[in-house]
């Protein structure tokens, strides 16, 4: 643990301007990813996962979204104040990004060929034929059969699964060392979902990639990620290894999540719906523990501002973690 982490996020706060007020979508987020390591960030929709992911590559919608404070160190280099020229190299070249909707993430009026070659050429000095070759290899690598034909296709001519494979190929085109995958399987059906997950895992192993996997489906974590961070209402409430997480959950929210998880592979349903109430909206967060209104263990101290408490499995954002 002595060497510089691949990605080290420190105290990162992401804000959105709504009606002239800056509201925090993610607050004081800190985590690390080492080379070859995979971290899963899990949370319900609206908890700030995507805002966090976008912030990491400064992809927040301009001018509404903004990094309010904190640092994002990529191999010791802070992305937050980084000049744009360097940022362009990092985007795609060092950190690849896989998006949630393969349908809209690809340019509908450009062939796959053009989009992949463009990504390759941005970061690798290749001539036309080399780039084509690289593109074919890349598609093969992400498991697309008959890549020569597929390259000629437009996004709408491909199935959802194939499109997400192209999305992954785009993210890999610049030979990055870290992949950020923002709910890459959400819009896919079960069989494609499994295929994409195993593809990601294979690629990560093969290429030794660091992986930040963002999802609201806790179940996916078990096999894919080394470590898991749970996000709730803009904060990371608990971080730990995958094993500890499933075996020794600490935060009441984490427990509730796990309790809602069906045994083995049950029928697909919204797994978090069994927790009473719903996630408070942006700007409606309680002053103290943000889970307080839904927490079965809530006590008066919970209404005071919270800080991380060290436990044997990692830091947990809950004042009563040792009492439970």
């Amino acid at each position: 643990m002595d060497k510089i982490p691949l990605l080290s996020v420190e105290n990162l706060t992401v804000g959105f301007t709504v009606n002239g007020h800056v509201l925090h979508a993610a607050e004081a987020i800190s985590f690390k990813i080492h080379a070859g390591e995979s971290l899963g960030i899990v949370g319900e929709s609206g908890c700030g996962k995507t805002a966090l992911a976008m912030a990491l590559l400064r992809l927040l919608p301009h001018p509404k979204g903004k990094i309010v404070g904190g640092h994002i160190f990529y191999q010791g280099e802070d992305i937050v104040p980084m000049p744009l020229e360097r940022l362009y190299q990092i985007r795609g070249g060092e950190i690849g990004f896989i998006f949630q909707e393969p349908m809209t993430a690809l340019n509908p009026v450009m062939t796959i060929h053009k989009q992949v070659i463009e990504a390759i050429k941005l970061h690798r000095k290749l001539n036309k034929s080399e780039a084509l070759l690289a593109a074919i290899q890349l598609l093969e690598e992400v498991g697309i059969e008959d890549p020569e034909t597929r390259l000629k296709a437009y996004p709408h001519e491909l199935s959802g699964g194939l499109r997400q494979r192209v999305g992954i190929a785009l993210a890999l085109a610049g030979n990055p060392t870290l992949l950020i995958a923002d709910e890459p399987t959400t819009s896919l059906d079960a069989s494609h979902k499994a295929q994409i997950l195993s593809l990601l895992k294979t690629l990560q192993k093969k290429r030794g990639l660091g992986l930040l996997f963002i999802t609201h489906e806790l179940g996916l974590m078990r096999t894919l990620c080394d470590r898991i961070a749970i996000m709730y209402a803009g904060q990371i409430v608990e971080t730990g290894t995958t094993h500890n997480f499933f075996e020794h959950p600490k935060h009441p929210y984490t427990r509730a999540l796990l309790a809602a998880l069906p045994i083995l592979t049950g029928p697909k349903k919204d797994r978090l719906s069994s927790i009473m109430g719903h996630v408070p909206g942006l700007g409606e967060w309680p002053k103290g523990c943000r889970f307080v209104d839904r927490c079965p263990h809530a006590q008066p101290p919970c209404h005071k501002p919270q800080s991380y408490i060290k436990t044997d499995t990692g830091p947990v954002l809950c004042c009563r973690v040792h009492e439970l």
Binding site: M54, L57, L59, P61, L84, Y88, Q89, I90, R91, G92, G93, G96, F97, F99, E101, T104, A105, L106, N107, P108, V109, M110, T111, E118, A119, L122, H123, Y154, H156, G167, L170, A171, A173, G174
Partner: protein, 334 residues
Amino acid sequence: MWAYIARRLLLIPLTLLGITLIVFALTRLVPGGPLERALMEIQMGGHSKGVSTSPLSEEQLSGLKTYYGLDQPWPVAYGHWILKIMQGDLGESQRYNDPVWDMVIARLPISLFYGLTAMILTYGICVPLGILKAMKPHGWLDKGSSIMIFLGYALPNYVLGSFLLVVFAGYLDWFPLGGFISDDFETLTFWKKIQDLIHHSILPLCCYLVGSFAFVTLLIRNTLIEQLAADFMRTAIAKGLSFKQAVWRHGLRNALVPLATDFGQNLTLVLSGSFLIETLFDIDGFGLLGYNAILDRDYPIVMGILFLSALLFLLGNLISDLLLAWVDPRVRFQ
């Protein structure tokens, strides 16, 4: 695709048949045709010597009907008209006694000049302006130009025209008071001719541009803003493209799609012209020809222009569709 084009091309004559049939029937069934116009001119003209005011005999009336081509029932007359059209003959103006084709061709240079110049200026100015506005929405350029555009758009073009005419041609005397070219145009050198043409055309062009200017600029601006927020733009930036590169390589092509949906209609500019602007600036173009033909009840001209503009319109639609399919691969021919 070829089968699709062939099918569309086959539909054109049928559509034309429908349109012309309806209008032809209307010209015959609506009261107040060319015969009544001729009668009125004489009868309301007062008691000048040499002109009798006693009612015309049946024979005389039917003679006039024959002269104005009204002696046959309209379906028969329509049949004759269609047969002539198929031989490439648009007929002859009843009032000018000139072939409609010749009158159309005589006006082509004017409409082509104004149509093409307006088109080039519209796309040449509006597209870049729209892009600039979209890249910095709500910036000073965006807001400033929007005020100008809406001001221009809100003014009817003939009001603007009168204003320009009085101020810039009348009071300031910078431009001539109308006309397409000077009377001594033929005697000028080549460069002087061009200068003369530009000198005459600036004010009318302003009027022609003012409407489409707002439309195209805002279309580009708004679609581009929409495209800039699209997911694929984020993908492009995440790839490592700069914002500008992403706009040029990814955003723009998508923003041009709505423009393509009526680009083919530029074909109709061959016959374009606004009667109000042409009246104001004394330009002998199609607007005036068509408007006067309707007032004059000169139905061969009305039908001829209708036929040509409907034909161009239908071809323009087809071209638009092909163009749209070309810029947007998602569009399929059925």
